[in-house]
Structures are given as structure tokens and as C-alpha cells.
Symmetry: D3
């Protein structure tokens, strides 16, 4: 069997940054999500602090996620550097869960899936950091791609339900 | 109600890096884990490539995770810079799931939980990036702290089962 | 005449990072400020958007300043890396001026003046960036140290009035 | 009233990186300046050290400013990454003031004002750092844009006099 | 005599990032090599550890080199930021010497020679770091460009023999 | 045979950052050197430009090397972050060769050899970049450690001659 399904592996199985020089730049978008399960205790403490504290936890996470998306190719070894055209992050509470969703756009020769996933991952880590003094047992769950458009492989959408 | 449970928020709810100058340096450790659900299709393709490719996916992820742990305070806005004494990352396959576990140690005035969580998060993103050309629908699950020692709050261990 | 007044210059006038290895670690603090003159037009537009927009401009600047303080030794060539214990940034409106003040603390062998100044500089640049689409002619003014404590040279306070 | 004047704020006032994907790449330039008031005492000490020391202070600042311009999108949260075509920094003494001027060029979909302003800000911080052991009370003044060209909004020039 | 042969020096000899805005983007490639002389003792110890250890030293160096190539413009002050299309690193043993070779590709207005050289330099430093506990006297030798293609000056190849 | 001679490899041969938490902080120094062979043609062109250009090439390399030393743990995957107390870089011409020497000091639990080697490597790359428009065939040679002091293994000095 071969390694050809794994673009960042050479024929002999070594890691390399796959060549995208022959690809035509197209508009690319990706959306990703992450869930943070804060647990009942922390969620109630956060609600009790009122709008300002909740807002600042989310705003700090939003900015961290946007800044991290721009660092993706410094963090993930085989990612290509890209000139991102747009990054936004939304967050909404679902009971004791905080759902974070990112949207990333770029005109380039490779997709922005990893940028969208990095954005929600670091935003989720930031929520964790802002809340961890209030209690134990926070868990980041279901970091996944929701949708991508552009590129040779075209559009793709995740099935609607979370797997877990 | 107050914001005092949230160390990185001031009394008026603004984000700030909490003062750890009065704390005594102690030995700190943290272990964290992340699961990557590659799905049946990708897992089989990876197994079919043999030991070299599987090894290179995991080795690349291990190095990415170790390097990311050292960038934690650049990624997570309110994290303190720390001089990490040790970082290691292990990975093991559980069927179609890859489990990644990090261990981080430091002598300092604040814990290394975020470093251990950042290590597994970026290692998991790297596995995702190395495998995404082989199929859709990869999901990172259950990023969580397993154990911490050191500091005023002492030791803590997660309950054994994953929540999801 | 000699270069001995300039600690980062060698006797022959070459730049080098001055040796602080013999100095004893002490508690260090620094406070700095910067003024951003947004002009009447932008300030009124910002006031008209209400609390959320004003808050988000300031919150984004606060986080950018805190993160930049941690990057000081990567930006200013002869600055020593330091383990910062605390960083906070406050902002208040004085008519059409926004005043930003930083407070940085550390236990170390060299002071945190540059970290406090970098924090307010990057926070001010961020306010500029967030507001520049609304009008021209923004000016950052009077970036200066307000106070330092700790170290061999002891405490120092700026005279109260701004010079300009 | 609305947030539409503030491009980096969404309609609901949240920070996001505005989408520049639909804009056509054009040649962009920006020039910015900063003044550093070293005070009489330091300026005289620096003059007394002769050409080498003065040159090294300015050369170190020039390189720091050029390198910082390339980090703008890592420092200012909503700035887009850009491939800068050219960066230069000049410095001239006006009595006890050092005036720093940057020139930045790029072919892209968004302007380089923030890069030019970041360049002079970090160059000024570097002059501050190189001189601070010689005396207190240094002040960075009048960080502002001098000129921009390119892009939909076309050219703009600052009025000639400093405001302060 | 003039400074015109040195593109990163202005007419008055000051460092600046040369303007590449008028150049047409073309496909660029560069290959570079570095030799690491580990000495007899370390080479034998490494051989004695078997395939896994040797593989991990080289794999860690490969990933470090690929990641460093993407940081070239942050490390080398006058280098332009570039969107690299491809990076790969190979290594082969020649007795007690390890030869590292990089290949970098990009579509852009300036060449990728420095990226290829930075890749092998940091890969070589990483081999050094991974082996230095096993013995003294490691030496990195003959870091040089092997070949470049693209750009106004066209193709170039190094003469075949190492100079030393 | 075992991997115990290679501190950054685990018993099973996997890369990890060796644990230095049990080591006592001591004063550490390291000196390293690199030679850049510019070739006759470039060396003569550089001499013809006079003191300013030669000075600016070396000054830019010096600052690049100092800044790179502080990034060592971000570049070399298994290097520990360290608080460097001092960095200096000297350069001297030996005919058509430029010799660069770094000196790094730190109080810590691990040595600064890699920081000294990274400093001269990046300084040499910078000289290369500043001179490459003037001619082909530049070669970086003999990057090696000259001396180290401090730590359990004590002092060490290289033999005087270069090996190549």
C-alpha cells in the first residue's frame, strides 16, 4: 500500500510540506466549531458575575482565536503560510456548554480548514484558562470542521449532529 | 455576585494577567489528553501504509505539541510565561481513535495545566492536518486535564472515564 | 568621552545585551501611559455606537497590550527575557483623547519599564487600527513611563503633567 | 447609530478581521513618523560618545523597526497578514529630539498604515531602551501617519505641522 | 565606490529591505545543504542505538528545518515575507557526517535561497542539540546553496565539490 | 545498546524535552564561532564600499544574532526556554573570511551552547543575505562551540585549530 493518500508524506513516508505551487488560487472558506463543557458549577458562577464577566471571557477568547488563526503555519508543522482575508469568531451558550464557531476566508492555493480549527481550539483553551480558577473538570469537546468551500475538492459540509 | 472566582478578571470584570509575584515557586506537573477520531476509512488507510507513515504522523504531532507547549503564553492571552523543565508526549491507538497524552513539568509560581492542554491540542491539530487529505470528518474529542500536582491548591486527578 | 552611560553599548560602542547575571532578583514594577488623540469626528462616531463598540475597541486594545508586553524581548533587540508576574491595562476617556495605562510586575534582575511601554504602545496602535476606518489624523501622543520601583536605582516617578 | 464606520467591528459590535477578499490588490505605500524626546541630559551624553554610539543606537532602532513591521499582524489583533515589498527607516536629530520616519510598500488588498506606524513605534521603543540607562524622562511623542497611497480611499497626506 | 552591489543597503549604506514591488512573480526554487560532523564517537553511539533513535534525530531535525524555513523573514532582518509553496528536507549519512539537503519552492517576487539555507541551518542545529549529550566537538560545516531557479538572474548551480 | 547517551530521546527512542527540574541553577556561559567565506569578489566589493557598508552588514548581523539567541527554544524543538543574562557578538575579518563569535550567559539549569550556536548561525545567515546580491558562492563554515562553563559536566574548550 502507498502513502499517496497522505499529502504531507513523501513516497517513502517522510513528512514534507506538500507542493501547492501548481494549484490555482481560488476563494476558500472554512467554518469550524468547538464545545467547551464548563460543568454546572462554573457555568453558574459565571452567570452570577453578570454580563461583563461573561462578555470578557468570550471577548478574550475571540481575540485569542483570531490571533491564533494567523499563527497556524507556525504551529502546525506542514501547514502553508496563507494571507487570510477574514476571520471571525462567534460564541453562544447552550446551557453549561459554550459553543465557539469560527469563519475563515482566504484567496489562495490551499484551504483554510486548519486555520478555522486552530482558531476554535485556541479560543477554547482561552475560555478554559479564564475559567479554570473557578473549578475543575472543564473539557473541550467536539473540535471539528463544519464546512469548507473552494479548491479542487470543492465544497463539503459536516453532518448536522455532533458525534458525541 | 463577584468575579473573585475568576482569577484573570479584575473586580470590575476586565481581563488582566493575575499577579503571581507573591507565590512561592514549587514543582508543578500536569498531564492532559486528547482523542482524535479519524474514522474507519482514514484509520485503515493509515494502517495500510505501514509503520513508517504511522510513525511519521505521530512523530510530527509529538514535536508540534512539544513546541506549542513552549508558546502557550503567546497563544493564551492571560497565561504567564514559564520556564518549562520537561515536556513529553505519548500517543497510542485505540481502534480508530488516537489518544495523545502530554506531561509537562516546571518549577514556578503558577501551574502548567494550560501548557499540557496546549500540547495535546496542537498535537491533535497536527494529526488532523497530516491525515485530512485522506478523508473527511475527523474530530478532536475530549481535550482535558488528567492530573496536576504542585501549587497552593495541591494535587488533582480527573475521574477515570471520559465524559463523552 | 565614553559610552559607559549607555548600558547596551560596549566600550567600543557596539550594541550588546548588557550582562545582568550578577544582579540580585528583586520585585520590580513599572507603570506607563499613552494618549491617543482620536480627533472630534471619530470620538463622536464612537460615542454614537454606544457601550458595546467602545468596549470592544478598548477590550481588544487591552488584550493586545497584555500579549505584546510578553513579546517585548522579541521586539526590542537588547531587552532581556523576563518572567512577568502581572500585567494589567486600564483605559479612560478624557474628551476626545483615550488614555491607556499599563502596570507590569516581575521578580527579576532587570526592570520592566520596556514591557510597560511596549504594552501601552501596542494597545495604542490597536485602538488606532480599530478606529482608522472612521477617519484620518489619529495621533498617538506622550508614550512615557509614569513610575518604576525595585532594582538598584530604586523608585522613580514622572512629574505629574504631560510635557506636550 | 451603527458600527459601520468601524470596519473591524461587526454589526453587533464584536471585533472581527474585516473581509478584504473582494478587494483588488493594488500598490500601497505608507509613511509614518515618531519623535523621541530624549531630554537635554541624554542628548548631550549621546553627542559626547561620538559618531559610533549615536550610529549604533539609530542602527539598532532601524533594524528593530523593520523587523517589527513584519510582525504587525501578530501584534495588532485585527490586522491582516501582508507580504511587504519594502521597508525603510530614516532617523534625523532635531536638537534633543530624534525624529524617526518609516516607509512601507506592499501590493495587496489592504493598506500598510499599521505596518508603518508599528515600525516607528518599535524603533522609538528601541531608542528608549538603548538610552534609558543614561537618564530618566524620555518621552515618545507624535506617532502619526504622514502619507498613504493606494486602495479605494486613494491618497492622503497629513497636515504639515505636528499637533503638539 | 558605491553600495549598489548590496541590494539591502541604501545609497548611504544604511540597511533597508530592498523594494521588490516592481518585480513580476515567478516560480522560484532553491536547494541548500549542510554537513554535520558528529565525530567518530557520537556516530558510533548513534549507530548502536539502532534505527529508531537515528530516525528520531533526523525526523526532529527535518521538522525543525521545515518550521524554521517559514520563520526566515522573522530571523533574517532584511528578508521579505514569502508564501512558501513547498519545503522538504532529506538527510543521508556519509560515514560520521550527516548531510542535510533542503528544497524550497515559492511563487513570488524574490528568491527562496535564504529559506533553503535557514532550513538546513536549523536542521543542523537540531541534530547538534539531539546529539550533544553524547559527546563534544560536533561541527556544522559547509552550509551552502546548491542550486536556484527563477527570477531575473535565472538559474545557478554550485560547483560540485565542497570547498572544505 | 541503549539511547541513554542521547538526553532528548526516551528509552524507546522518542524525542522529548529532557527533564532538568532536579538540576541546580548555576552560572552558565558558552562561546561559539562561525566563518563566512564570502569569496574574493564580494570581499573586494565590500571593502570598496568603505566603512559604512561594512559596518552595516556586521551591525545588522550582530543584532540578528542577538535576537535569534533569544528565540533558540522556539527554533530547536527540544531546547529549554532560558532567561539569558547576556548576549554579545563580535566579528572580525580574516582576509575574505568573516569570523563571527558569540558569547552567551545565563543562570539556569541547562547550558547555553545552543543559544551561542544559534546566535552565530543566524548572524552568518544575515551576512549571507546582505551580501548575496553581490555574487554567488558564499559558504558558511565551521559553526562550532569554542567554550562552555558551568553545569554538572563543568568547563570545556575546543581545540584551537579549525578542523576544516
Amino acid at each position: 500500500m502507498s502513502t499517496t493518500d497522505f499529502a504531507h508524506l513523501s513516497e517513502s513516508g517522510q513528512a514534507r510540506m506538500v507542493d501547492v505551487g501548481e494549484k490555482t488560487p481560488t476563494n476558500r472558506t472554512a467554518r469550524a466549531e468547538a464545545y467547551i463543557d464548563l460543568g454546572r458549577q462554573i457555568a453558574e458562577q459565571l452567570r452570577a458575575t453578570g454580563a461583563i464577566a461573561k462578555g470578557n471571557v468570550v471577548d478574550t477568547a475571540r481575540i485569542a482565536g483570531i490571533m491564533a488563526a494567523k499563527q497556524t503555519s507556525s504551529l502546525v508543522p506542514m501547514c502553508h503560510p496563507l494571507l487570510l482575508d477574514h476571520i471571525s469568531i462567534d460564541a453562544e451558550w447552550e446551557g453549561d456548554l459554550l459553543r465557539i464557531e469560527s469563519c475563515v476566508r482566504c484567496t489562495g492555493t490551499t484551504g483554510v480548514e486548519m486555520e478555522a480549527l486552530t482558531a476554535v481550539s485556541v479560543a477554547a483553551l482561552t475560555v478554559y484558562d479564564m475559567c479554570k480558577s473557578a473549578g475543575k473538570g472543564i473539557e473541550i469537546r467536539s473540535v471539528r470542521l463544519l464546512e469548507k468551500t473552494g479548491g479542487k475538492s470543492g465544497s463539503w459540509q459536516a453532518e448536522s449532529g455532533r458525534n458525541n
